[in-house]
Each structure stands twice: as structure tokens, then as C-alpha cells.
């Protein structure tokens, strides 16, 4: 080969090599720009879900668009990866060659996120669906509606209404936050739930009889009962036995961590007269700072660690769930950092047992035996969050104020209120049926609405909720309604010949009001009260 030919050869191969470098550098620079967030991510449609995407891009483009903006899409997790089902699953059906299920339960999410699923499963959130048999639910099912369908009063022009669904308030109200017990329609006309299916540890039904009763449409797809679906309540009781719905906070189909980090996300449920956490937060300095400094919160950060990625303001997630720089990882059990439960009529310290249930035993030795995670541990975890922005002196003094407040509420109003209602019930001066007497509504307002508002207000530093929407109304309800109504019932009982029960209630009230903290009310204290 001549020198000239070799020169051409070297030139050609050199240009080929440099040309390949241009391609490589172009792809490398593009990839780096995507990683650094300077260019939109290139989404490749996973082969497993390509046909789903093609079809649903026309039928429901919003779903595909949301998914394309998700981390799932970036990581190659498509439709089938989440919706895949085992053919033995009760809600599985064949859909263009794939066995899928409509509802994605925490058991499905746990295939890739086992740690998060486990943390969530032991949280109070996961058990939100169990309210379906509680006092609050009686209110919605029976007081607000009716357990059985009933006839309409008159025709509804334009719509044929021959029967009223008395459970409508529960379905659209309670269940949307707390979660429904997911049900399939049965061929026999009733519902099929997890109770009928008795699923094994893999979530597959063991009761063949219930399985045989599942009603299916013309495509052989099991029909979900409209009373229980659609539903993304946080404590949803799923057909596979798992509890909860990850999309309650992580909104499908983009499952945005950014959204889950913002207070508005929690406000779907945590607002309103009985637990206005969102409004309380808005009033607090934390909420004010968030609104002002929202743009500096680095909400898109991959890990979103307080003290590293941001410090401007906390959100609900910051204090109750997120990772921070003092060696604490993100948790999906918000109860891990809460030291008082302000949900029941009387606040309890959050010592929890091995099943993560709040211990209500009063005997110290018995409590000690049951404690798996103490309230002090929980508070210490929360303090680690607080200490990012506050001194320990500040944090400890806050907790002293908070403890004093809750204990004052417990001792001055909650326990006495509970004692008065118990005395009335013991003497059979009120019925066992809830909400059929005025004093039951009074007591419910006192602890469930005003008492909670006061306690939550104190816990999150919102003085207006603590006082005017809280303790002021608690006091008003207690002195101006509960006491007079109880006395009226007792007086009426005595007049009707039931003197023993009437006097017992009077004695209970007298004992409460004779205590120094209530003496002002009756004008019984002739001498000024001594300071504690």
C-alpha cells in the first residue's frame, strides 16, 4: 500500500472515529442535561405497555400524559407493571392479551416498594377504613341517611327516582377519606367483599363459593360495586386483604412526590370542623412561611431532605414523614413522630403496642409491659425535625406549653364531660342510641369538633384555633349547654319518680363543679382562688 493510500486510510478512519465521537458526545451531553434537570426526560415506552399506551393515548390521553411525567415512566415502569394481576386474583380479567386488575392495591405497590408498604400498613392511616363500624359512621349511615333504601317523597323531574340510596352520604363522604371496603357486584344482587373472599397471604381468594358469584360484564370483566368504587380513601379495605390506597396521597397516574410533599395534598381530608389541620397549618408561622417561600422549597428534589435540600418552611410531610439531615429516613407511618393522640374525647399519650395500637391501659406496670414504641420515642423523633430550625430550649418549652394545654383540656372538660354522659347512661336517663338526644349532640360537638380543634391548634401553633375556635367554644358548650342540659334531664327524671338516677347525675355534676377550677361558675367560691 502506498504512502498516499495510507494517508487516505488514516484520514478516513480518523474521520470515522471522530464522527462516532460526535454521536457519542451528543448522546452523553443529552443524557447529562436530562439528569441535571436542564432538559425534559426522554420517555421510552416499555415494550410490555406499548399497546396500552397506544390505545389509551386516544381513549384517555390524560392518563398517559400524567404517566409520562412520572418517575415511573423515567424508570421504565409502565401500565402492566402496576396493573398486572394473577389470573387467580378475584378482580383479574383478560384485557387485550394481558391479565390485569383495575384497582392497584398496596400489595401491588409492595412488589417494588416493600419498605414503604410495610411502614404504611402499620400506620393509623391504613386502618382508616375501620371507621365504617364506628360512631361517626352511624352518624352518616343512619342519622344523615338510611341503612336501607327508602321511597322518595315525590317525583324528581327529569330523572326517574324510584328508590333513595340512604348510604349516599357515606359513599361520597366518609368513605372518600377513610376508604371503602371494596366490593364486587354479585350475581345474587348483593356485594362481595374481602370478608366473603377470605384471601390467603398472596391476596388470592380461598372461598370458591364467593368467587363463583362474581358478576362480570360482556368482556368478562368483574364489576366493581359503585358504592365502593371509585375510591382512593387512605384506609381502603381491598379485595386482596391489604389496607389502604397509595394513590390517596400519591395521586395516580403521575405519583408525584412533589405533590405529596405539599400541604394541599393532606388537605383533601385534614380540614373542616372536626380536624382542621390544613387551616391550622395555614394560620401557623409554618404555613405562612411556606406560602411565601414556596418557590425555594426545592420540591422537585429526588430525596427532599430537610436541612440539605431545603430549610425555608416545613409542610405536613416535613414534620410527620419526610427525611431530614439528622439521620432520619422518610417514613410512611406519620404516627411515628406524634406523642399525643388528639382524636378521642380524652387525649391519650401515644404509647403503642407491638401492633402499633395506642395503649389505653392505665396501670403503669401493665403499660410498661405492652409498650413497643413509647410516646417519648415518638416525641424525640419529632424534636429532631424541630431542631433544624429551633433551639432545644425553644422546642422543650413548646412541648411544655402543648402538654399543659392538652392536660388542661382533658382534666377540666373532657373527663368531666365523659363522666356526666356516663352518669346519664348508667341511670338510663339517655338511650343507648347515639344522636337521638340533644345532649349527645352537645357532647359530640364538644369533644369531636371544638375539643379537637383546640388540641390540634395547640399542637401546630395556631392560636386562633387553639382559643376562639377551640377552648372558648369548648367552655361555652360545657357550661352553657352540657351542664344545663344534664341538669334538666336529672330534674325531669326526679320529677318523673326516678329520683335515684336523677340525684346520681346531680351529684356527679355537683362534684365536678365543686372542684376549684369550676367554682367560679356557680359563684360558690366566696374566697378568691389560690394560685396553683
Amino acid at each position: 500500500m502506498s504512502i498516499k493510500a495510507k494517508q487516505y486510510l488514516i484520514g478516513a478512519l480518523g474521520f470515522l472515529f471522530l464522527g462516532s465521537l460526535l454521536i457519542v458526545q451528543w448522546s452523553e451531553v443529552s443524557r447529562k442535561r436530562e439528569e441535571a434537570g436542564l432538559a425534559p426526560h426522554h420517555i421510552s415506552h416499555p415494550a410490555s405497555s406499548r399497546s396500552c399506551i397506544e390505545c389509551h393515548d386516544k381513549l384517555s390521553p390524560g392518563i398517559i400524559d400524567h404517566w409520562e411525567g412520572s418517575t415511573h415512566a423515567l424508570k421504565g415502569v409502565g401500565c402492566v407493571e402496576c396493573h398486572q394481576a394473577n389470573e387467580k386474583d378475584v378482580d383479574a380479567f383478560e384485557h387485550y392479551g394481558a391479565t390485569i386488575a383495575t384497582i392497584v392495591s398496596p400489595m401491588d405497590c409492595a412488589r417494588c416498594h416493600p419498605k414503604e408498604a410495610k411502614q404504611f400498613a402499620q400506620s393509623h392511616h391504613a386502618h382508616g377504613g375501620h371507621i365504617l363500624a364506628s360512631l361517626d359512621n352511624f352518624l352518616a349511615e343512619t342519622v344523615e341517611g338510611a341503612r336501607a333504601p327508602f321511597n322518595p317523597h315525590s317525583p324528581t323531574p327529569g330523572m326517574e327516582v324510584d328508590m333513595v340510596n340512604g348510604m349516599a352520604s357515606v359513599d361520597s363522604g366518609c368513605k372518600q377519606c377513610h376508604g371503602s371496603k371494596v366490593a364486587l357486584a354479585a350475581t345474587t344482587g348483593d356485594e362481595i367483599t374481602v370478608d366473603d373472599l377470605k384471601p390467603d397471604e398472596k391476596g388470592q381468594p380461598t372461598n370458591q363459593e364467593a368467587l363463583a358469584r362474581v358478576r362480570r360484564n360482556e368482556s368478562n370483566q368483574p364489576i366493581l360495586h359503585s358504592a365502593s368504587w371509585p375510591n382512593t380513601g387512605i384506609g381502603r379495605i381491598n379485595l386482596d386483604g391489604s389496607l389502604g390506597s397509595c394513590s390517596a396521597c400519591h395521586s395516580r397516574h403521575d405519583f408525584s412526590p412533589r405533590r405529596a410533599r405539599q400541604p394541599e395534598n393532606c388537605a383533601k381530608c385534614h380540614l373542616g370542623p372536626d380536624h382542621p389541620q390544613k387551616e391550622i397549618y395555614d394560620e401557623s408561622k409554618h404555613g405562612v412561611a411556606f406560602r411565601d417561600l414556596h418557590a425555594h422549597m426545592n420540591l422537585d428534589a429526588a430525596t427532599w431532605i430537610l436541612g440539605k435540600d431545603y430549610t425555608q418552611a416545613p409542610t405536613c410531610a416535613t414534620c410527620h414523614m419526610s427525611a431530614h439531615s439528622r439521620d432520619q429516613e422518610v417514613t410512611h407511618d406519620p404516627g411515628e413522630r406524634i406523642s399525643w393522640t388528639n382524636r378521642p374525647p380524652v387525649s391519650l399519650l401515644m404509647d403503642t403496642d407491638i401492633h402499633h395500637k395506642v395503649i389505653d391501659a392505665t396501670d403503669p406496670a401493665e403499660r410498661e409491659k405492652l409498650i413497643h414504641d413509647s410516646w417519648q420515642n415518638k416525641r424525640d423523633r419529632m424534636k429532631q425535625v424541630c431542631l433544624h430550625c429551633h433551639t432545644s430550649n425553644y422546642v422543650n418549652s413548646f412541648y411544655k406549653q402543648y402538654d399543659d394545654f392538652v392536660i388542661n383540656y382533658n382534666e377540666k372538660f373532657a373527663k368531666p364531660g365523659q363522666a356526666i354522659i356516663a352518669a346519664l347512661r348508667k341511670g338510663k336517663l339517655i338511650t343507648d342510641i347515639q344522636f337521638d338526644e340533644e345532649i349527645e349532640w352537645t357532647w359530640f360537638y364538644l369533644w369531636h369538633h371544638e375539643g379537637r380543634r383546640a388540641r390540634h391548634g395547640a399542637s401546630m401553633m395556631a392560636p386562633d384555633y387553639t382559643h376562639w375556635h377551640g377552648m372558648f367554644e369548648v367552655a361555652d358548650r360545657f357550661y352553657q349547654q352540657l351542664i344545663p342540659q344534664a341538669r334538666e334531664i336529672a330534674k325531669h327524671a326526679s320529677e318523673q319518680g326516678n329520683e335515684q338516677a336523677g340525684q346520681a347525675v346531680e351529684a356527679a355534676i355537683a362534684e365536678i363543679l365543686a372542684r376549684p377550677e369550676h367554682q367560679w361558675y356557680e359563684g360558690q367560691a366566696k374566697q378568691p382562688m389560690q394560685s396553683p
Binding site: 504512502i3 478512519l13 472515529f17 462516532s20 454521536i23 451531553v29 439528569e35 441535571a36 429526588a302
Partner: protein, 349 residues
């Protein structure tokens, strides 16, 4: 002679004439073509790397707890930090490319043949040290791909029979990536490998000065003035023009495509796409095609073959009676490397 000149010549007893004599190696006319100046290009880029590397080292903190933040600080807070980091990154890329191009020129012009076999071996060592500098430098950023690249590198070394485990421990300072790994990479990148490179370049140039530049025209006498031109200042000026062109190219690349910062290394989260730096794309594709053990052993064999090529070439020529056999094999090898590199570049996983 003035007093100053006398003072000077007494202390440095070398005259301008002698200096010209020393540097004025007669350079064959073919060196006027730019692609024959590719030996000086990586050397020039290496100087750029030393200067920018020292500037980055002023701010860089070589510990897994601080490295990423210090690179972020360089990128975002230090005046022109992003520019010097980008120059350092692009000069590394161009340096590897220039070394490969230079090696291709030497290979296809058969400049490695007798008596220059040993200089080819030195050149191979220069290539490996340059790749080593690229690998360790890439790992210092402590972003996700740095961490996982180092982990994959460690696992690859581990598959070498017999000594693999010990080599991995030596590389990573333990059985897996730990807090000692990054400082070790830093020492390699900023001290051991550059010093090795300087020594090797010294030997490489000494060999060139001893043998003279390879004569491509058969029958040309090295001292025939009609076929040669002076190294000083003629060839040096060519190199200077090349150097200035490189500076313009580097500044443009650094400005248009500045070095970005990926996500911080997270040992708990494997990134969806793991890719090494581009100069390992071919080997990475090879690895994916054939699995670790075969790939590592075959790459070891390929590297050994490259080192021993001057002697293998001799045997092949004797066996085939074809003087151009190495040219044909070389064309196949270039296509293979370019093909594997582009393939790996274009696939997502």
C-alpha cells in the same frame, strides 16, 4: 558579551546555538500534514489538564461526604468554576480521542516496527494510564454514575482469575465502595497516574529523539535537507497553531456544553441507566454481550495482543507473506470499536 550575558552563560552554560542544535531534529516533510501532529496534541491537552486540575483541586474535597457538594460549589459558586471544570472534562475527552488517533496513525503507518517496538509498548502504557486518569477522574464527582461506575469497575476487576479479589480490594480499598475509596481514587488521579504519565511521556520522547521521527518515504536519508524541515521553529509553530485551535475548540465546547452535575451518589438506589464514560462504551457493550468473566478475560487477551503487536505483526507477516496484513486487521478493529461504541451510545439500557 555584556555583564548580564556573562552572568547568565556562567550559570546556564548552554548557548542559543547549542539549544537550537538540541531541539532541531530534522522532521520529515510528511509531518507538515496536520494528522501527523497528533503526538503533540495529547501532550498539549495533558498540560491543560494539569493546569485546570490544580485549579479544581483548590476547591475539591476528596471525601464521599463532601466531594459532591464541593463539585457543586465549583459549578455554582466559584468564579469561572463551571468553565474550568468544563474545560477539564472536555480536554479529557479530547485527550483520549487524540491518543487513540495518534495510535491509529502510528499503527497504520507501521511506525511501531523495528527498532521502535519498545516505544509502542510505552505508547500502550500511555494509553492505559490516560484511560485510568479518565476512569478515576469520572469517579471523583461522586454522582450516581460515578459511584455505580466505580462499583461496576470493582466487580469487573473481581472477575479476573486468581488475583481479581486482591486487585479489587486494592482499587476500592475494601470489598466494596467505602469511605476510603474516593480518597484512593483521588490519589491515583491527582498524583500517581499523572506522575507516571510524565515519566512515560519523557521516555516516549527520548525514544523519538534517539530513533528520529519515522521516515515514511522509503530510501530517504534522515539528514537529506530536501526531504526534511526544521523542528525548531517550523514544527513548533505548527504545534502552536494546533494548540491555539484546541483552546478555541475547548472554550467553545465548555461554553456550549458545560459539564453538568447528575444526582448525588446513592448506594441504596441503582440508577435505571448505568453507563461509564464514553471511552469505555466499547468494553461495556462487550461486557453486556459476553458476560463478565469471558469479557474480562478476552479484554485482557486483547490488551496483551496490543502490547505484543510489533512481534505478532512480524510473525503474521512471515506466515502470510503479506506486508499489509496489519492494515487489514486494523481496519476491522477500528470498525469493531467504533461500532460497539456507537451501539452502546444509542441504546437506553
Amino acid at each position: 558579551m555584556s555583564r548580564l550575558a556573562m552572568w547568565w552563560s556562567e550559570r546556564i552554560p548552554i548557548s542559543g546555538e547549542q539549544l537550537r542544535e538540541l531541539t532541531n531534529e530534522p522532521v520529515p516533510n510528511h509531518m507538515k500534514k496536520w494528522w501527523f501532529a497528533l503526538g503533540g496534541t495529547p501532550a498539549y491537552l495533558f498540560v491543560v489538564q494539569i493546569v485546570t486540575g490544580i485549579m479544581l483541586a483548590i476547591y475539591y474535597q476528596p471525601a464521599s461526604t463532601t466531594a459532591y457538594e464541593s463539585v457543586r460549589h465549583i459549578n455554582e459558586a466559584v468564579s469561572y468554576g463551571w468553565f474550568f471544570r468544563s474545560i477539564h472534562k472536555w480536554a479529557a475527552t479530547l485527550m483520549v480521542a487524540a491518543v487513540v488517533l495518534h495510535q491509529m496513525r502510528v499503527y497504520f503507518t507501521a511506525a511501531y516496527r523495528r527498532p521502535r517496538e519498545l516505544n509502542w509498548v510505552i505508547g500502550m502504557c500511555l494509553l492505559l494510564v490516560t484511560l485510568g486518569l479518565g476512569f478515576t477522574g469520572y469517579s471523583l464527582v461522586f454522582e450516581q454514575l460515578s459511584y455505580w461506575g466505580a462499583t461496576v469497575g470493582g466487580n469487573l476487576v473481581d472477575t479476573v482469575p486468581v488475583v481479581g479479589g486482591s486487585l479489587k480490594k486494592l482499587l476500592l480499598a475494601g470489598n466494596e465502595y467505602n469511605e476510603q475509596t474516593l480518597p484512593r481514587f483521588y490519589i491515583l488521579h491527582a498524583a500517581i497516574l499523572p506522575v507516571t504519565l510524565v515519566l512515560l511521556i519523557g521516555i516516549h520522547i527520548t525514544f523519538i529523539r534517539l530513533h528520529g521521527v519515522t521516515e515514511l518515504e522509503p530510501g530517504v536519508h534522515p539528514k537529506d535537507p530536501s526531504k526534511h524541515f526544521n523542528f525548531f521553529p517550523d514544527h513548533l509553530l505548527t504545534e502552536l497553531i494546533l494548540g491555539l485551535t484546541l483552546m478555541v475548540l475547548l472554550s467553545s465546547l465548555a461554553t456550549i456544553f458545560p459539564a453538568e452535575l447528575g444526582p448525588r451518589a446513592n448506594p441504596l438506589e441503582t440508577p435505571e441507566v448505568i453507563k461509564p464514560e464514553w471511552f469505555f462504551y466499547a468494553t461495556f457493550r462487550w461486557l453486556k454481550l459476553f458476560g463478565p468473566t469471558f469479557a474480562v478475560l478476552s479484554m485482557g487477551l486483547i490488551i496483551f495482543t496490543m502490547f505484543a503487536w510489533p512481534w505478532i505483526d512480524k510473525v503474521l507477516m512471515r506466515m502470510t507473506h503479506n506486508k499489509e496484513i496489519s492494515t487489514y486487521l486494523g481496519i476491522v478493529a477500528v470498525f469493531l470499536i467504533v461500532g460497539l461504541t456507537v451501539w452502546e451510545s444509542l441504546v437506553a439500557h
